[in-house]
């Protein structure tokens, strides 16, 4: 079973995050576009989704809303860590389990992912 699916269109951010989390022993897959994002989650059924808010074609909030409304209750309940570029204050994401503002410290990311996977 895949541990983490990351949906992020910035290749350099995705690459760094994948390296950081893989080194901790987790299996990480990437999807680089808002389009097809929900399909990728359905296909991989990961234990955790890391979702960027600003994505081309479809925003992270739209994908999150669709995921939460999925017919499969266990899929709909998948923990989601949102990456936002605007800080917590100006963006309310009640459907996300956790929110991490860019730029973030690698330690914070690791700690948050560890907490959400355990």
């Amino acid at each position: 079973m895949l541990d983490i699916l990351m949906i992020e269109d910035e290749p350099n951010i995705a690459e760094a995050v994948r390296f950081i989390l893989s080194r901790e022993g987790w299996q990480v897959a990437l999807h680089a576009d808002g389009a097809g994002g929900i399909e990728a989650i359905r296909g991989a059924k990961p234990r955790l989704v890391i979702l960027d808010v600003m994505l081309p074609h479809r925003s992270g909030t739209e994908i999150l809303a669709e995921l939460r409304g999925d017919q499969d209750p266990s899929l709909a309940a998948t923990p989601v860590l949102m990456l936002t570029a605007r800080g917590h204050a100006s963006l309310s994401l009640p459907q996300a389990d956790a929110v991490l503002a860019k730029p973030f410290a690698n330690d914070d990311l690791r700690a948050m992912v560890r907490r959400m996977l355990n």
Binding site: E10, N12, I13, E15, A16, V17, F19, I20, R23, D33, G34, A35, M54, P56, H57, R58, A85, K102, P103, F104, A105, N106, L109
Partner: protein
């Protein structure tokens, strides 16, 4: 009977001010008016009421009209002074009960106080709208997103390298290359940001009347006289003209008639045909009424010069600051082919697609000798994501914030592209 000073300038105070202004003695004025000096003194200190007859006599003695001495003329100014007092900081306590005296004794200073308070008020409103504007400015938002993305990547990548630990050589090389690319991106974006902020100084009027009207429309077009967004007379005039035009168009094509046809027909051209109404009217009414299937409809209207006169974009449609536009919008294409509806599927840089329908019309309101006026409108409808159709056109917001490097229509460099 004892009169108490309240919200009104008391006649007695006014009489006293007038007498002092003429440098006349109480006794002289009293004699002319046929009363004792002591009685005038009581009147002047508002301890005796003044009957209509006595006011007339005192007015004659003081060489003013009775109306000028009567009460109630300056109530609006008193209210304004009290309003100004309410807005003062807590530790400033003006003598509110002497407001009428202030106005009577020092009308010039009172007016100055009122004008200052009004200006402070206007500045406060302007500040609020300015900060709103900063938060919504598309240039700033796009540029700051660029900065944040690059910074995020730099920070994570640099930490990986700094933390040490085992990093395979190919990964290490890739991280170095990423750092190089991102730092270049950061420096060009930062320069563009500074240049953009510098350009603020060169612009005098930051808020145009049209922008005020747009903000007013976005707020749901509240009554013109109460609308906080409509600060200038020009904006209020524009807003009233807009409402009038909407009313006329609604009369020409009522809601029920349009909704009934829209329920059976999706194509605006066929709707117009069935309604026997001009297509441009149907398009504008669809964007305003938003019947089923047109819920997220947007509308852009421009005149013959291409200047946008109405901007109500569909959600997600890339819109630049007022006065700027993408030359590839089908709206402008329609100007060259009046009376021909142009349907184009367009794609924004963020990947979102929109069905657009554009139509230009011409008319000569001043007769055959008069000028030919052109107006174009573009109806914008969002396309569902995942559509298999290839877009007809790749459009953008405006060159400056458009990432399409190789666009044939580019007229100035983008702040999003590395130099």
């Amino acid at each position: 009977m004892k009169q108490r000073p309240g919200n009104r300038i008391l006649t007695g105070t006014r009489i006293r001010e007038r007498r002092l202004a003429l440098s006349r003695r109480q006794a002289d004025v009293a004699r002319e008016a046929g009363i004792s000096a002591a009685y005038l003194n009581l009147i002047e200190h508002n301890r005796r009421p003044v009957g209509d007859h006595l006011v007339l006599r005192l007015a004659a003695a003081l060489d003013v009209s009775a109306a000028e001495l009567a009460e109630g003329r300056e109530e609006a100014q008193i209210a304004a002074l009290r309003e100004a007092a309410v807005r003062l900081p807590d530790d400033v306590t003006p003598e509110l009960d002497q407001t009428p005296e202030l106005l009577a004794r020092f009308p010039g200073w009172a007016s100055a106080l009122i004008a200052t308070a009004r200006r402070a008020d206007a500045h406060e409103r302007q500040l609020v709208t300015l900060s709103d504007r900063m938060r919504q400015d598309p240039y700033l938002l796009t540029t700051l997103h660029e900065v944040l993305s690059a910074v995020t990547s730099v920070r994570s990548t640099a930490s990986i390298l700094a933390e040490g630990g085992e990093i395979p050589p190919d990964w290490r090389a890739r991280f170095h290359a990423n750092l190089d690319g991102d730092s270049l991106r950061l420096s060009t974006t930062a320069q563009a940001l500074v240049a953009y902020l510098d350009s603020f100084e060169a612009q005098d009027a930051i808020f145009t009347p049209q922008e005020e009207v747009e903000a007013w429309l976005a707020a749901g077009a509240p009554p013109v006289d109460e609308a906080a967004d409509l600060a200038s007379d020009a904006a209020r005039a524009l807003a009233r003209a807009h409402l009038l035009r909407m009313e006329e168009e609604r009369a020409a094509l009522p809601d029920e008639a349009l909704a009934a046809v829209a329920a059976e027909e999706a194509d605006p051209l066929r709707m117009a045909d069935r309604l026997r109404q001009p297509l441009d009217l149907v398009m504008r009414r669809l964007a305003l009424l938003k019947p089923a299937g047109f819920d997220a409809a947007g509308l852009l209207v421009c005149d013959g010069s291409g200047a946008l006169t109405l901007r109500r974009p569909a959600p997600g449609f890339p819109l630049p600051r007022p006065g700027d536009a993408c030359p590839l919008w089908p709206l402008f294409q329609s100007l060259a082919a009046p009376q021909t509806a142009i349907a184009k599927l367009v794609e924004a840089p963020n990947g979102r697609r929109f069905r657009t329908l554009s139509l230009a019309t011409r008319h000569q309101p001043l007769g055959t000798e008069g000028p030919v006026l052109t107006r174009a409108q573009m109806l914008i409808l969002p396309e569902e994501p995942g559509s298999p159709l290839r877009p007809d056109l790749l459009i953008g917001p405006a060159c400056r914030i458009c990432p399409r490097a190789d666009c044939a229509a580019r007229r100035e460099p983008s702040i999003l592209l590395a130099a």
